[in-house]
Subunit: 353 residues, 4 copies
């Protein structure tokens, strides 16, 4: 057995510090659900490491930092001044984003900002101007763009698998409504839910959406209506050429987290079905029972978040701007606003270009 | 019902006489594609028999009659006066329907009329009044209502499988556009194609559709646009409660005859997928290739047509009015008209009740 | 409306007799389940007609004959002497087949015989010799060969879709055991059930099976064991080249009539899945429930029986021998016998060639 | 358990020290394909960390160690004497396992050993005796037991979803044959491939397999035959009660890494289908093309390896013996040996208990 015949030699302990040096140092602002999700992926990555965490709730920040061997800091400035931090993840509530982005801009640190940048379009425009002026490496969190399934769909569309795109159909439904407190701050179903579908349409289509007719419904929970939001929405968007996108959203879906998209074109139809939790089925006298849907987005888009992180770190480390730009966040918000306006007025709305 | 008042008549042939006596005698007006399809099903049925055929094209009528051992006649009156004929199938071009129905009405014979009764709603209303006045057993050919798959869907919805219905999604696409000559007479994509989907919605929903926004597109063939029609259409209908129905139609589909419907409700989602031609799949380095879609509606709805015939014959033979009424044909046309109007004006349209 | 402008001319009533003349006249021996199934398909066919029916139980014969406008006769000779009868369907119990075939042989009538010809191989050989001597057009009822799904599989295999065939897997399971009385006469699970799978293997493979190891089990009903039969069976067959066929049978299957086959080869895998009753699925918190299996063989192989009839009538009417020969019935029985012997002895068995 | 008796030790680095203290220190022997896979999962885990790596090939060991910030050592003893190492992963070639296990046994360190322990059953028995004598926490790498899909299957079977198990069907096929050099050392298709299926049967069944008939084939590559191995295998195993397990293996599968299992019982059928790479399908005139199979086991069982690691670390950290025992490795080898013997002799073989 020749493994015994190896020469007797010594290897020193690998120095962690060198490796860490090569890893992009990340500061995290916001230690809530989505911040925690990013922190876990940062820890697993070979290309970056979590340096420090800030959260308005000091205990939350400390708990998350401890979990991943990072420091917790009491002030956002502590993150911004930390020279080990090369990139900042902004995962705080939406209404804090613009202020934080403006404070990060002068530091030269790269920024990953959870969507939306802001619910007010002119605030978004102004904020993006500031970032652009300083050429801040910036991306916005449209994680679905990195989901391997959606990526396969996009690649197939771009490679001409369906020829000219003619009709898109999207279903996205959450398993259960979020807390009313979230709904009150989220900007409503078009801005917190349909916005992801709208980014998908933009990601898939070679041409801009120019008009929309949307219908909002209150079918699930009267409290949502009282909070000024719809709990279900249906919209048709279209392009100059006459391509249409039909979207159905619901804040509650008995089957689970329902995420499907279909692209119909001159040469074929691409369907992205739900991803099953497992590949098991049970056949008996009732028929065949197959797997449930994923519980919610962290289960469904687990790998998408990881790949999104890797793509951001890779771009920043290579001195490139990330592919998903602030403009993408802005345009999806413009589309969501137009849908909301259509639902409120009962008329179709022209998308401002 | 006065079709029972027909004068006695004698059947000559020995062996079959008793059996034929018990079989509903059918006269067929129109020996085209759909008429031929009905004739074949009539021949296979134990409950009815084809007595006589009229077609404006004498050769077509004779050919079909010969194939099934029936007589061919040169005048519609020959059908109407034939005492062996207890029920008439009206399968002639749409613009002849109203005149023919008015001529059948006084004979007391039962009527199966292909949809639509007419493209003009007031003509339809007037014609239906005449039929109702005389209590003519009458049905309209919405074959999908008899398709075992659609029937299973409807039964499941009515049995509460999804709870309260909230969102419906329908795709129906033809494999290839019909001849331009057909398009010029058909009333357009909303009246010849979407009308089936609209009848489906009415079949499934416990409440009426009250509004629509529709978008027509010209994506496939400029000749269709020149003929004044769209070749693709997308529509959203809604009810007072806020239930929405999203429909996508196309006159061309590379994958074949695409017919899907999904009903989403408070307790679950019912999906009616396409019916595959066979249950074979081939796995290799490219992935798994499974069966094509049915070629077109005769292949897909073969069994539906047969069951539609049996249900009509059974109702007439039992002295009952068929379940699918003239009113169903009228209401679907009203919905299709509203969609057309929306597409032409760019505004949503209130459905006249 | 030009349908009114047709010239006034008369068409005589089509003469049924001419049409019937052209239709192959069929005599049916045995009015049980399978005989009734054939009778229904004969009635629906344009190419043949049921002339007369014999059944040992006179009431059964009369009932079936009446249903289809045929005569019922009290003696097999009445069928054989009937000059309107060009082909005889032998659907009586297995142990009567050989005697009946021998009596038909001299009449020159074509024969469709339900499988198996007999449970005793030397009886089968002798009987086939008699039929061959007289060049009687003869076929044996292996309906699966005509099933469109199985046909698609066979065609794909023969067209090289999987390259060289290497491994076959077959499952066939009945929903529930037949009556013990049937089991006592059927020859057992290998001869009444696996025999269909064995004919499938022969239909698919370019080379003969040369050996088998089979295992019989008594898992379901002790009464079946008492009757001397197994209620479940698993077998491996092989060819000289080393291709293997794995077969699993069961007399009871909670999910329904389970019929699957898979052909694995050097270039890919062809899978023939079960045919669902409908294309509906229901998604909710439990997962996705899709359609049941067909209830039993008449539901699953409905179309196969019809196509088998048409192929037989077409061959006989054209003066050709049907494709499925008596030899096919013999060889499948040889394979089934070898499997039975293996199960009884616990050793592998060489297939006699 | 004596691995707790390890001398105290100090960790130097500031930030991580507390965290590392709590993490199980792992030494890796063998830095090949499977060792690298484990190393990656160890790095991602919150519960353990890679301390040191030994490989007979010094460069391989160093490369893997560097990648994960661990040390590389020139002698196995360096691993065994390292007090930071609480558990050793044995991922070296099979023929080195027994010697290495015997050397680890006295150290009190826990052991994760890749299967098989050895190809010689008496060597395995002796080695396990030594480990048991010293109560070494020990597990063997049957990763499929931790795959969420297989786990769901097992749980469903144990919860009675199919009632009494009656028939099992397993397909496992590799995309392409391994190098001939591997085949020469692996013990052959039954011991390196079917052994996983046999462990699955044992995992699923409440009763032991008592007999086997197996057939080996040489269909793919004559070099494999020259090396004394089969490249395809089919086996039937059975229990006293008459439950049968049909297994088909192939060393080459055009469709990819094919892994399916089906459990048929008195109340239903559980089918574990392949896991698709993505949920996309493309429909066009050829039919519907859906996703490829996973490339090979690291892609398919990625999550299974991770969960296997976590379960091992959790058991060891909690002072429990891991669930998968050395006995499981032994019994699967006994079954594989019996299958090999059956294939070589052409007779069924009784499994030694």
């Amino acid at each position: 057995m020749n493994y015994q015949a190896l020469p007797d030699c010594q290897f020193g302990r690998q120095d962690y510090s060198n490796k860490e040096d090569a890893m992009l140092g990340i500061g995290l602002i916001g230690a809530g659900r989505i911040g925690s999700l990013h922190a876990e992926n940062i820890r697993r990555s070979r290309a970056c490491r979590l340096v420090t965490v800030f959260d308005a709730n000091q205990n939350s920040g400390q708990a998350l930092a401890s979990l991943h061997g990072a420091s917790a800091v009491p002030l956002i400035e502590d993150v911004l001044l930390n020279t080990d931090v090369s990139a900042v993840f902004v995962c705080s509530p939406t209404d804090t984003h613009v202020d934080i982005l403006r404070r990060i801009a002068p530091t030269g640190k790269a920024i990953f900002c959870e969507k939306p940048i802001d619910l007010n379009i002119s605030h978004v425009r102004n904020c993006l101007s500031v970032l652009e002026e300083r050429s801040v490496p910036f991306t916005i969190g449209f994680h679905r763009r990195f989901d391997p399934h959606h990526r396969a769909l996009r690649d197939a569309v771009h490679n001409g698998a369906v020829g000219e795109v003619e009709q898109i159909r999207i279903v996205s439904r959450d398993p259960a409504p979020p807390p009313i407190s979230y709904i009150k701050r989220s900007g409503g179903i078009f801005r917190d839910m349909m916005i992801h579908d709208l980014d998908q349409c933009r990601f898939l289509l070679p041409e801009p959406l120019i008009g929309v007719f949307a219908k909002g419904s209150s079918l699930i929970d009267p409290e949502i209506e009282k909070a000024g939001d719809y709990d279900a929405a249906t919209a048709t968007f279209w392009t100059t050429r006459g391509v249409t996108c039909s979207i159905q959203n619901s804040r509650r879906c008995a089957a689970g987290f329902d995420q499907r998209i279909e692209v119909f074109g001159s040469k074929g139809t691409l369907s992205l079905e739900n991803v099953a939790v497992n590949s098991l089925s049970l056949g008996d006298g009732s028929g065949f029972l197959s797997s449930k849907l994923p519980e919610h987005f962290p289960q469904r888009y687990n790998e998408a978040y990881r790949l999104q992180l890797e793509a951001f770190v890779d771009a920043v480390s290579s001195g490139r701007q990330p592919d998903t730009r602030g403009y993408d966040g802005l345009m999806s918000l413009v589309l969501a606003d137009a849908a909301e306006q259509s639902a409120r007025t009962g008329s179709s709305v022209v998308i401002p270009s």
